[in-house]
């Protein structure tokens, strides 16, 4: 097993006795026709109970692979390696599939990006939620049905009993996402993974769904891993933020710290692409170029070809994740950035 250079372990911002989710040195490699493809490269993650962590990155950054790895839903062609991968005190790496299955939908559940396709098109909404209930709980069908309607009602769907009898194509996008949220939360999971749950929705509906996820998660004490590429959503939702780039974790920080003083040039760039953030004084840095082909990753820091500050070591050595200030760590040779900027003309 490969070890990434690491100098500091990142402690959660507010020290709690037992984190819900601990991920250390997680790598995922896909076997492809063109050889192995590393989708995740030694990433770390910690999530406290009830906390909301936003995982941010462009497409191809590995954030969706991360969510599937945590759910144990990666295809058999994926090779998973980790120094530690524990959920609620249980080691997930050695977990057998039948045991994993009892976790899925109960202790951890997931909502997806495309509510249009994430529901089974040929089964009624209510039946799909009833199935989710009865997979893990041995209760009679009518009782499960009542619970399903209750769950739909909790998401603010009007006339939930009627909607339960509808097929997915008869509902609007926002309504479908509400149904999926109801289904995901029906067993009050300890962890909810939301993979870009609002990307496919209309702007007006987006805010409603975000509010709903936050409110329900708070109500049920569910920790949320919120995957997104939208810094606006991050600002709205997150307690803490982890920024991914090309399969690596490049920065992690409490949300306010990340917005006020980002410590990785890539984060700076992400914020720069959000106009209203500039007023807060972060340097404006549009990101040039595109994410590199995963088979042709540059040596050293993966970001260096696009980085305006890239210097000698950036091209040869992988930067370790270093704590810059309490709770905030950056995998950049040049961090803290403010000193680097001041040192330049």
């Amino acid at each position: 097993m490969k070890h990434s250079p690491r100098e500091t372990m990142i402690a959660p911002q507010t020290a709690r006795p037992e984190p819900l989710l601990v991920v250390r040195g997680l790598s995922v490699t896909f076997a492809t026709d063109q050889g192995p493809l590393k989708a995740l490269d030694a990433v770390d993650l910690t999530l406290a109970p009830g906390e909301t962590l936003a995982v941010v990155g462009e497409s191809g950054s590995g954030k969706s692979v991360l969510s599937l790895a945590l759910m144990g839903l990666l295809p058999p062609t994926a090779k998973i390696e980790a120094d530690a991968l524990t959920f609620d005190g249980r080691d997930l790496t050695g977990l057998r599939e039948p045991d994993f299955r009892t976790l899925r939908g109960t202790a951890m559940s997931m909502i997806f990006q495309e509510p249009a396709t994430a529901l089974n098109p040929v089964r009624r909404i209510g039946d799909q939620i009833v199935e989710a209930i009865r997979l893990h709980e041995d209760i009679p069908a009518p009782k499960a049905r009542a619970r399903a309607i209750e769950a739909l009602a909790a998401t603010g769907i009007p006339a939930p009993a009627e909607r339960a009898g509808a097929f997915p194509h008869q509902l609007s996008g926002g309504m479908r996402q509400r149904a999926l949220i109801a289904m995901a939360l029906v067993h009050r999971p300890r962890l909810l993974i939301a993979d870009e749950p609002t990307t496919a929705l209309d702007v007006t509906v987006q805010a409603q769904i975000l509010d709903l996820i936050r409110d329900l998660a708070r109500e049920t004490g569910t920790a949320t891993l919120f995957i997104t590429h939208d810094m606006g959503v991050v600002a709205e939702m997150a307690d803490r933020v982890s920024v991914f780039y090309a399969g690596r974790l490049v920065e992690t920080a409490p949300a306010p710290a990340l917005f006020s003083s980002p410590e990785h040039p890539y984060t700076v760039g992400l914020l720069g692409s959000m106009p209203q953030m500039n007023a807060r004084g972060a340097p404006m840095l549009p990101i040039r170029g595109t994410v590199p082909d995963p088979r042709l990753m540059p040596p050293g820091c993966h970001f260096h070809p696009r980085c305006p500050f890239a210097a000698g070591a950036c091209r040869t050595d992988r930067p370790a994740l270093r704590e810059i200030r309490p709770g905030q760590a950056s995998a950049c040779h040049l961090a803290p950035l403010i000193e680097t900027l001041e040192a330049r003309p």
Binding site: T102, T106, M110, A118, N120, V122, A132, L135, F167
Partner: protein
């Protein structure tokens, strides 16, 4: 897509008209004078004239076609030129055995084809997948009559099953052994296409988002594959089976001939080779009508299987 069924019904009307026109033409090109043929060898000129007027043979062609249509609607398909038997009666007698044979063929080949397709889809690219695909392509490439003849040889040398005729209804002790060989030969036609289509649609369905949702709910592999993926993959398979009934019909004609199975296909072939035009016309009308009915049934079934087709949104 609203109105797949409506479209089918519309097309079916034209198909029906086309078939009736073919049936009508078949009687028109009959070299013998139909009236004389019906009157028989002892018929007098006066009798022939009466029959001719009764059949409307003295009227213009369009009127004759209209008369033909009205006779067909009343179930009057004419008489055989060979033995004067009522075509309608002969066909209703042969329809049951043909239906039996086709059902018996589907009873084994549909489940087996589905299972082979599922196996291939789950092990895509593996040895089993290749074996299934090889069976499938060989199945559609082999002439039905070769399979039939091989089975006849095999059965004759082992004396395992009767090789000629029908022994009564297929669910009886006498009937069942008789149908085994023809049903085996006929079912092979369906096996390849069903296995192939199942493999394709199921592999797609297994990668669908909603199947991932089902797994995220904690559903086990059996439920994921059969309850979710196969359920959505079923629609194109149903459609395919409807279309394959045409091929099955072709196979039935050959199989019935080889195994002396008293069905409509054998009736049609015998009628054509002996120049019994009314009988051939009736048999072809029946087969075409059966195909139309099956495909309408398939469309109704598809709408039941897929709620997206049901609602008009």
């Amino acid at each position: 897509m609203p109105g797949r069924l409506a479209h089918r019904l519309l097309v079916s009307i034209f198909v029906l008209l086309g078939v009736l026109l073919v049936g009508f033409l078949m009687l028109q090109v009959m070299p013998a004078d139909p009236a004389a043929a019906i009157a028989g060898a002892q018929g007098t000129d006066a009798e022939i004239e009466t029959i001719r007027r009764h059949l409307g043979l003295d009227k213009p062609v369009m009127v004759q076609f209209a008369l033909y249509l009205s006779r067909v609607v009343q179930g009057d398909l004419g008489q055989s030129i060979i033995n004067n038997a009522s075509v309608f009666t002969e066909i209703t007698r042969a329809a049951g055995p043909t239906l039996e044979l086709m059902c018996a063929a589907m009873i084994w080949s549909l489940p087996l084809g589905l299972s082979l397709g599922i196996t291939a889809a789950l092990r895509r690219g593996g040895i089993l997948d290749r074996v299934v695909m090889a069976i499938s392509v060989a199945g559609v490439s082999i002439p039905v009559f070769w399979v039939g003849l091989l089975l006849v040889q095999l059965a004759a040398s082992t004396r395992a099953f009767p090789i000629q005729g029908r022994g009564g209804a297929i669910w009886t002790i006498d009937g069942l052994p008789h149908v085994i060989l023809p049903a085996t030969a006929l079912g092979l036609i369906l096996l390849g296409p069903v296995a192939r289509m199942t493999r394709t649609t199921l592999s797609d369905a297994l990668n669908a988002d909603h199947v991932r949702t089902a797994r995220a709910k904690g559903a086990g592999p059996a439920r994921v594959v059969l309850g979710h993926a196969l359920r959505t993959a079923l629609l194109p398979i149903i459609t395919l089976v409807g279309l394959q009934v045409g091929a099955l019909m072709g196979g039935a004609v050959v199989t019935e001939t080889i195994f002396a199975w008293p069905g409509v296909g054998r009736l049609a072939v015998n009628a054509i080779t002996t120049g019994d035009y009314p009988m051939a016309q009736g048999a072809i009308l029946f087969l075409a009508l059966a195909f139309i009915v099956v495909n309408i049934a398939v469309d109704i079934l598809s709408e039941l299987a897929d709620p997206r087709l049901r609602s008009r949104t």
